[in-house]
Symmetry: C2
Subunit: 140 residues, 2 copies
């Protein structure tokens, strides 16, 4: 793993969240590998497989969102060959027709290198429950 | 990707759930790569990093669980070089001091090949909300 690879993957990860904030499906489309095995798990949703289904979900989310801002914390990136994954916490402020809301989402993003590009192939986001809301040692 | 690699990764993934069902920390310990970057996100928990912290969480969960049964559905496995990831739904029946409960957890498991072994380096599990409980198009 070279410094340059780390920088490339960090940049790909930043582009993903910049596309998310842009609410522009075209920008999001360009970042995903066009394969049937790509998968997206939005918080609480069942998994979506395949580029088409995943893009449809972004359309749906973007259509219901007026504004979206991310602050990423605890970002850890690993690279092994042509695969990289980022583990991070999304600190979200979003605005819909119902007003502003905030959320804390734990994400796993997997990227594949194709030529010079690191394209996203897997996004799994899930709500982080505040410790006070949850009993330690409980699975759910 | 050879048939044999697919089989190896599927077997590693099965071993992970067999260790989970066994509630035996020693069996779980043997399956994880001993590195500081391994990460485990239990449903609703903040992410745990490092082999030690992850193993402590299994101890805690196993100590609070009397029985645990998994049925895995919609399993998709991808292999690229020495990295593989499994996306699947865990259909769980578990028994604690409070009795039996069932759950549906969406999981992303990442494995790294070390010598002949595929060791788990990342587990991210999160509750699947039944569609009726959640409005489509909503992020959270």
């Amino acid at each position: 793993v070279t410094q340059s690879e780390d920088t490339q993957v960090a940049a790909a990860n930043q582009r993903f969240y910049a596309a998310f904030e842009s609410l522009d499906v075209g920008r999001m489309e360009a970042l995903w590998l066009r394969e049937r095995y790509v998968c997206c798990v939005h918080p609480g949703w069942p998994p979506l497989f395949g580029w088409g289904a995943v893009m449809q979900s972004w359309q749906q989310i973007f259509a219901n969102t007026l504004e979206m801002r991310f602050r990423l914390t605890d970002v850890q990136i690993r690279i092994a060959g042509d695969i990289a994954w980022a583990v991070l916490t999304e600190n979200i402020e979003s605005r819909s027709a119902h007003g502003w809301s905030t959320g804390l989402i734990q994400a796993t993003n997997i990227y594949e290198r194709h030529d010079a590009d690191w394209l996203i192939v897997h996004h799994h986001g899930s709500p982080v429950v505040h410790p006070a809301d949850d009993a330690p040692g409980q699975l759910q």
